[in-house]
Amino acid sequence: MNTLLVLAGIGVFGLFSEIFRFKKALLPVVFLGLAAALVTTVCDWNTNVSYFNNMMKVDNFSLAFSAVMICITMLWFIISPGFFTDETSKSDHFTLILFALTGGVLMSSFNNMVMLFLGIEILSISMYILAGSNKKSLASNEAAFKYFLMGSFATGFLLFGIALIYGATGSFDIDVIATRLSEGNLNSSVMLFAGILLTMIAMAFKVSAAPFHFWAPDVYQGAPTVITAFMSTVVKTAAVAAFFRLFIHTFTSMTEVWHTALMIISAATILVGNITAVYQTNVKRMLAYSSIAHAGYMLMAIVSMNSAAPSALLFYVIAYSVSSIASFTILLMVSNSTGNDSIESFYGLGKKNPFLAIMTLISMLSLAGIPPTAGFFAKYYIFIAAMENHMMPLVLIAVLGSLIGVYYYFRVIIAMFRDGNEKEIDFSGRYKLVMIIAGILALALGVAPGIVTGLL
């Protein structure tokens, strides 16, 4: 709860810094604020309190996901200043990121459909603006428009689903809904089924799961690379946390309605994401498809529905976010110096910049799920959780998807060791810091996964 207040508070501070001209102090204050938010998150651990007439419930699940989002946002703030060189709009962008983070925290701790809706919208509306923050670029405009259109379309589905569930159960509170569902005390089961399926479609849109993923590659490619890094880490974490909370806490007694459908969505997402990524020559677009595929693995945790699922999902989200932010940092540096995002711009990287090449190697191995990196144990725990629920076909499809994934992640690694492209990479300390932190985390979690798995 205090986390939410601190984050919204520094967001408002960011808005004022534009008026009162203390923009120089903005970045340090944002870091202090994020650190304070992290401290309040850690202090609330194991308290399990609900606020505002049970509208919000801060339990360990929500605290863990909030902490992950705050940490990734801190890493993001280290790489971002080089991007927004236009001083007039810098504080606006920072403020929007902070509000998006506030929405993300709300999405991981909601206990009422109203809060779910508000969290999703606070996050999404900020992201629509940020996706279009490169105003002169037509690609950025197109990304913002597509994101806006698909986002508000999905919101429409979500709201219609919520309204139908309200009609069937008479409440927005997810505890009350869960009780009425398990008692079978319903006004209309048809409305309930339609409502659950519509909310599932809307959440699948938000996590970019197939067949509702078609907006994601365009938006990820068109948006400025820094914003894409934020979208594929923090926004995805928030959406997956909300999806998990909604379906596991609320609709557990109605598994016959959604379980098979979600399993098919998960399998389709893994296959579509990995297979389409193979055909991409643009690394940014390839990472977009890879993030779609990773959404599929995260959905596997929701379908497993057992006690191992929350910690498996948390581990996966951390491993994915860390390696994803590292790979976007690398992409940012490479594309800053070569001017494009294509795979050719990685040629010769191994020879002229070994440090960068090693970091690329670690993050790509982690995304592919190869030991000794975090990605391996992330997939391992997810598969174990799924096997406990006897879902062998899904696990086989997921393993097949990972094998396809190895191919395109290794293409980047192989490209680094080819000749060509002698241009020097602009290599500032900020990027180095983020890559070292992310690299150490990816290796540490791969060597000692027990740090995280005991938490939930």
Binding site: F117, A139, F145, T155, I162, G170
Partner: protein
């Protein structure tokens, strides 16, 4: 509170708002003018509002009507952002036809 539902049963409200919602969905899928697409999204949201108000009256529970206020406020913010994005596109391309938006690789 139940009196209105004796003349017009609850099912009629559900059917009406489902129809409105479907019209909105079809509009988003098939229209090519961005402004009309926005209007169709609004139609979807307003179908939801109608449904919520009908349920709220039926249950005699104010929560549904409060939710409608939240939806209205958020929809206003959303459209403000959407129209700003559209203005930005119009400045760069001189059109609001979404067929112009195909610069990103498919």
């Amino acid at each position: 509170m139940g009196s209105i539902f004796q003349t017009i049963p609850l099912n009629n409200y559900v059917i009406l708002s489902t129809l409105l919602f479907c019209i909105g969905v079809l509009g988003v899928l098939f229209r090519r003018n961005a402004i009309i697409i926005f209007m169709c999204v609004e139609l979807m949201l307003n179908a939801v509002n109608l449904l919520l108000v009908a349920f709220s009256t039926y249950f005699g529970d104010a929560a549904g009507q409060v939710f409608v206020f939240f939806i209205m406020a958020v929809a206003a913010a959303e459209v403000a952002v959407g129209l700003a994005i559209l203005t930005m596109i119009f400045r760069n391309t001189g059109s609001v036809d979404i067929n112009f938006l195909n610069k990103l690789k498919h």
